[in-house]
């Protein structure tokens, strides 16, 4: 593969040349078609949906289905995240329908609205670590223990303020109407739990959806928001996101070790951020990025 940063004398590179190299690397990866994430998104939802009849018909014990459901719900967000950034196909492209379909379908296990997450996520990108404008700012915590404590406390009715942050973000960008999607999806999710529970399938509903969703609701913001933006005090293109080495590897950390690349070039497919990071690394170091030894 053509390496843009090969055989470069870094002491002689100007800021403009650094910029040009960085963009050239990004362009190379943006062009790649993200087939893997498309398969992941649809297959993940399909597997999760299949768990319901398999468990209800007694073909799969619930103890075996539960860990699969946890993985499914935790893995549901990322394909939609690529779709939020129109990585599969931009507006006007012949595959645009696939981009939007993936965004909606992959989020079914996570019981969230694609459009609601897309527009609030754009605000996160535009105002990362800004205490007043970043809708994900409430995840910041001084350490891991405080993060998990806050995550638990945010689940209590009195502290459920995230929806207010998201509503404010949507109002700023004139997209308040998409909150209806979120309310509708959460209503369906809640009614499914009620109907299942009252029909004698409470344990199945709890272990296939309710509990996995609570776990995912803590796991996803941990790796996507808290860890790569910690301590959440710096703002600016090369300062608001850091690389990190996860004890559990790139897979368990949802590929977020290289999240810095995503914030610089959001249209690079998730599955190509590690390669883009490795190629961009010398540039990022010269830009003053905190790569935490990566």
């Amino acid at each position: 593969m053509d390496q843009v940063t090969q055989a470069v004398n870094w002491d002689e590179v100007s800021a403009e040349q650094l910029d040009a190299m960085e963009r050239k690397i990004a362009a190379k990866y943006i062009k790649k078609f993200p087939l893997g994430i498309i398969i992941w998104g649809f297959a993940n939802t399909l597997i999760w949906l299949a768990l319901w009849p398999l468990v209800i018909l007694g073909l799969l014990p619930i103890w075996a289905a539960f860990p699969i459901a946890v993985v499914n719900v935790c893995a549901a967000y990322l394909p939609s995240h690529d779709a939020q950034h129109s990585i599969i196909a931009r507006e006007g492209h012949k595959l645009r329908w696939l981009n939007e379909l993936l965004g909606h379908v992959s989020l079914i296990p996570f019981a969230q609205s694609f459009r609601y997450l897309r527009f609030t996520h754009f605000e996160h990108h535009a105002h990362t670590n800004n205490p007043d404008l970043d809708p994900d700012f409430d995840v910041h915590a001084e350490n891991r223990k405080v993060y998990f404590r806050n995550a638990l406390m945010r689940k209590q009715p009195i502290n459920a303020t995230r929806k207010d942050l998201y509503s404010a973000a949507l109002e700023r960008v004139g997209k308040s109407a998409v909150a209806v999607d979120a309310i509708a999806i959460r209503t369906v999710y809640t009614l499914v739990l009620f109907v299942a529970a009252c029909s004698g399938y409470a344990i199945e509903a709890a272990l296939l959806w309710w509990l996995p969703l609570h776990i995912a609701d803590i796991y996803i913001p941990y790796y996507l928001s808290w860890k790569p933006h910690h301590p959440g005090t710096d703002q600016g293109r090369y300062q608001d996101t850091e690389a990190f080495k996860s004890t559990f590897g790139n897979l368990v950390s949802s590929g977020m070790q290289y999240h810095v690349v995503h914030h610089l070039y959001p249209r690079i497919p998730l599955m190509h951020t590690p390669a883009a990071f490795r190629e961009m690394r010398p540039i990022l170091l010269r830009r003053g990025c905190d790569l935490r030894g990566m």
Partner: protein, 64 residues
């Protein structure tokens, strides 16, 4: 309409319509029974109680 959504997302309704059957069905699956009471009554007592606490105190786990 607002009333409907308020009801769907009410902790008390969640406690009664989801937690109560969940507790009752879990007890049945585990072969548990308390003072010969039907498990659904126990579920309603615990689930409804948790829902009431979440509604009036704002927390499912007492601390807030």
């Amino acid at each position: 309409m607002a009333k409907f959504f308020k009801m769907v997302f009410s902790p008390i309704v969640f406690g009664v319509l989801f937690l109560a059957p969940l507790i009752a069905q879990s007890m049945t699956a585990a072969g548990l029974q308390i003072f010969a009471l039907p498990n659904l009554i126990v579920g309603l007592f615990i689930g409804g109680g948790l829902g009431l606490m979440a509604h009036y105190r704002g927390s499912w786990i007492w601390i807030k």
